[in-house]
C-alpha cells in the first residue's frame, strides 16, 4: 500500500519545479499522468541522448526518450500527448478532469487560464479539484511576469549574496536549481495536506507556490538579523561564529577535501588526541574556543598540513571514530560508490525499455509501513495514450484513430 494510492494527478509541468512536485506525489503512490505533446515538449526531453552523441538532433527533439534528467523527474509517471493547440486538445483534458484529484503546473501566470484550464473552469467540472501552480515570482506583484531561470531567482532571493568566501566579493553561485526544488517540495507538502483536508471536509483548493518566496524562506536567520539589527549578511564561506576549526581541509588527490567541525572543548581534546597531541596544539593561541576562533587562519593551516597527507575518506573514518564531526566533501561519484547509500538503497536500478537497466536517485525518507517506491521507468513520450483515452475515457477505436491522425493526440 502507498500513501497516495488511488489518487490521480494531471501533471502539466515542464523542466524541474513542476515535474519534481508531481514526481514526489508519484513516489507516494499517486497515479500521475504527464500531459505533454510533440508540439511543445518538456525541455528536459531535449538535449544530448544517453546513447550516442547526436546533440543537434537531441535539441530538435529527436531523442525524447533518452534524456537522463527527464528519467529522474518523471519516473513513476504515465505519459499522454495532447496537443493543447488543437481545438479538441483542451476538450480531451476536460473529459479527464472528473477522474483527476490534482492538477499541477509550473507555467507562467495566466497560461492555464488562456488555455481554458484555469481553476474556475476546472472546478466547474470537478467541484473538489486541487489545482497547484508554482510560477517563479508568484501570480501577483509587479514582477510576476519576470523571465526566471533558477539562477535569476537565486540571485533575487538573497541566497546568492551569501555564497562565496568570507569577506570576499559576492561572486559565488549555486550550482543546482534549489529554487525549483524548494518550490516543488513546498508544493508537495501543500498538495498532500490539501488532499488530507479534502478527505475530511470534501473541499478542493487552489494552491499557489512562489519559487522566489520558497527560496527566501531559507534565509530565516539572515532576514531576522536584518529585521533586528539592520545588518546585511555577506558570504560566510565555511566560517562559523562559534566553532573553530570549522572548515574544509585539503586531502590527498586532486580537488579532494574533508570538512571538520569542532564545537566543544571535549571535541577539541578528542581532535588533538586523534592527531597524536602535536606540539602546536598546545600553543596558547589554541588554548580555548576564543583563542582558536581568533587564530583560526593559523589553526586551519596547521590542520591542512596534516590532512593533505591523507585520503579524505580515511580522515573521515578516523576522526569520526575519535568522536569528531568530519565528513568527506562528497561529489556525486563518492555518493554513488559509498557503502552507506548502498546499504540504505538511495540509488535505485530501473529497467527502461530503450536504455536497459539505469540508475535513478531514490527518496530521502523511508516510511516503515507504506514505503514510497520507484515502481516504473519514466514514460516514453505518449506511452499511455491508449490506456488513458481508450481504457479510462472509453473513446471508441475509430475516434481515437481520428484524434491521432488529426494530431489532437500528437
Amino acid at each position: 500500500m502507498q500513501p497516495l494510492e488511488g489518487y490521480r494527478v494531471l501533471d502539466f509541468g515542464s523542466a524541474w519545479a513542476g515535474p519534481m512536485a508531481a514526481q514526489l506525489l508519484a513516489d507516494m503512490g499517486a497515479e500521475v499522468i504527464k500531459v505533454e505533446s510533440r508540439a511543445r515538449m518538456d525541455g528536459l526531453r531535449l538535449g544530448r541522448p544517453i546513447v550516442g552523441d547526436d546533440v543537434a538532433g537531441g535539441d530538435r527533439g529527436l531523442w525524447p526518450d533518452l534524456q537522463p534528467a527527464f528519467h529522474g523527474f518523471n519516473r513513476n509517471k504515465l505519459s499522454i500527448t495532447v496537443n493543447l493547440k488543437h481545438p479538441e486538445g483542451v476538450a480531451l483534458i476536460k473529459r479527464l478532469v472528473p477522474m483527476a484529484d490534482v492538477v499541477t503546473n509550473n507555467f507562467a501566470p495566466g497560461v492555464m487560464e488562456r488555455l481554458g484550464l484555469g481553476y474556475e473552469e476546472l472546478r466547474a467540472i470537478r467541484r473538489d479539484i486541487i489545482v497547484v501552480s508554482m510560477p517563479a515570482a508568484g501570480e501577483s506583484g509587479p514582477l510576476k511576469d519576470i523571465i526566471a531561470y533558477a539562477t535569476i531567482i537565486h540571485a533575487l532571493s538573497g541566497l546568492m549574496s551569501m555564497v562565496g568566501y568570507e569577506g570576499e566579493p559576492l561572486v559565488g553561485q549555486l550550482q543546482a536549481a534549489w529554487s525549483d526544488a524548494l518550490a516543488a517540495m513546498h508544493a508537495a507538502v501543500a498538495t498532500a495536506t490539501a488532499l488530507y483536508h479534502r478527505r475530511r471536509t470534501g473541499e478542493g483548493q487552489y494552491i499557489e507556490v512562489s519559487q522566489w518566496e520558497a527560496t527566501t524562506s531559507m534565509l530565516g536567520e539572515a532576514i531576522m538579523d536584518y529585521a533586528m539589527n539592520g545588518r546585511v549578511a555577506g558570504p560566510m564561506g565555511n566560517y562559523h561564529p562559534m566553532m573553530a576549526p570549522h572548515n574544509n581541509y585539503p586531502c590527498r588527490g586532486d580537488d579532494r577535501w574533508v570538512s571538520i567541525a569542532v564545537a566543544s572543548e571535549e571535541e577539541w581534546q578528542a581532535f588533538c588526541r586523534a592527531l597524536g597531541d602535536p606540539e602546536w596544539a598546545r600553543d596558547t593561541k589554541f588554548a580555548d574556543a576564543f583563542q582558536r576562533q581568533r587564530n583560526r587562519a593559523e589553526l586551519d593551516a596547521r590542520i591542512a598540513e596534516w590532512t593533505c597527507q591523507h585520503d579524505a575518506h580515511e580522515v573521515t573514518e578516523f576522526l569520526q571514530g575519535a568522536g569528531v564531526a568530519a565528513m568527506t566533501v562528497m561529489n556525486i561519484e563518492d555518493q554513488f560508490l559509498d557503502p552507506h547509500f548502498r546499504e540504505r538503497g538511495f540509488h535505485v536500478e530501473v529497467e527502461h525499455p530503450k536504455v536497459g537497466l539505469e540508475w535513478l536517485y531514490g527518496q530521502p525518507w523511508l516510511l516503515s509501513d507504506t514505503p514510497g517506491s520507484v515502481r516504473r521507468h519514466a514514460p516514453l513520450l505518449g506511452e499511455h495514450n491508449e490506456y488513458v483515452f481508450r481504457q479510462l475515457l472509453e473513446i471508441p477505436a475509430e475516434e481515437y484513430e481520428r484524434l491521432v491522425k488529426e494530431q489532437a493526440l500528437y
Binding site: A137, L143, V163, V189, E221, V329
Partner: protein, 408 residues
Amino acid sequence: MTAMAERDLLAGITVLEYATMVAGPYCGKLLAELGARVIKVEGPGGGDPARRRGPFPEDLPDDELSGLFLYLNTSKQGVTLNLETATGRDLFRRLAASADVLVEDATPGVMAAIGLDHDALCSLNPRLVYTSVTPFGQTGPYSQYRAYPMNLFHAGGEGYTLPGSLSNELFPGREPVQGGTYLAEYDGGLHAAIATVAALIARNLTGSGQHVDVSKQEAAMMLNLLNIQLFANTGELVTRRRSYHFGGIFPCKDGYVILYPREDRHWQGLTAAMGRPELGTEERFRTWEDRYRHRDEVNAVLREWVAAHTKEEVFQTAAPSGCPAAYFATTEDVFHSPQFAARDFFEEIEHPSAGRLAYPSRPYGFSEAPRSQQGPAPLLGQHNREVYCGLLGLAPGELAELHRAGVV
C-alpha cells in the same frame, strides 16, 4: 465557506516536537503553519541550542531573542521537560499517547535507550506517526556519525561545486564553501514534512501510524538529482570548474548582476534595451553558436555596460527586455522588495520579548485557507501550565512539584 476552525488544513492534529536547531524544528514550523497544534518539548540547560545561536538584537545574547529560534518556532507552544528523569519520560509518554505526530532528531539509538523509541511509543499509541530527522538516517554505517550543518552540507554534493563560476576563476584552488545559511537543514525539514503528511494520509488507509526515517544528507542529495542522473548515465561529474558559455556574473557600480542572453530573442532584447540594437543582429552575435564563438566579445560588451550602471539600473533595463537578468540581492534588498511587499510575504509578529518584527511567511497560499496570522515562538516553558494541566490534566500543585523536582 467552511467554518473558521475547519479552515486550517491540519486542524485537530497534534504534533510533539522534540528537536533542536534547524531541520526538525523547521518540519514542526511547516506543520504549525498548516494548522497543526505543535508542542515543542525543550530539555534542561536552557532548551533548544538555537536559542543561543542568534542573531541577537545588538548582539546581546538572550535565550528569548535569538533570530534563528524566533523564526523556526513560530506558532508553536513550548514546554520544558527533563527526559533524564523517570517522571519526565513518563510525562513524555503521556504526551505521545495523545499526539498524532512526534518529530525527533536524536542520534539513532538514543530514544531507544530511554524507552521512547518508535516501538515503545507505538505500543502506547498505534496511531502515532513517529518522524526521525537525523544526519544520515537510522540505518547504515554512518548512522552514528557526528555531523554539524556544515559537514552535512558538504556531504550532500552541492558543496563540492561551490562557489564555482566567477569565484572559481578569481580564486582557483581554494576550498569548497557552504551555500549560505542552513540550506541542507531546511531541506531536511521540508522532506520530513512531506513524509509526515504522507504518513498521516496513509494512516487514514491503514488505521495506524508508522516510523518515518528522514536522512538530512539524502535530502541534500536530492537537490543535486540532475547531477546524479547525469553521472549515473554518462559518468560526467560537475565540479567548481564550471562557468557560463557566455554572459554570467558581472560587477556593476554597487554590486553584481547576472545577465544570461541564452536565446536569440534574449540577446536582441537586451542589446536594444542597452541602446545598441545593432549588436542584436550583427553577424558574429546572431545565434547561440555565434555568441559562444565570440564569447569574449559578448562578455566585453556586457561588462562595459554593466560597470557604468547600478544594479537597479541594470535590472530595470534588462529584465523588461525579456533577457534573464538579476542582481545579487542582499537581505536588505529582499526585505524591501516591492514584489514581496505587493504579495504581503513578510508578516509582522508580536513576540513578548522581541517585540514586533517582520518574518517571512509560508511561500504558498490556499484559496480556501488564507494565510492566518502566525503566532510568535514560545518563551522557554511558556505553555507548561496549558499543556500539562490542560492537555494531561495535572493539578496546578502537581506541576509546581514537578517544577521543584527539576522534571519540568
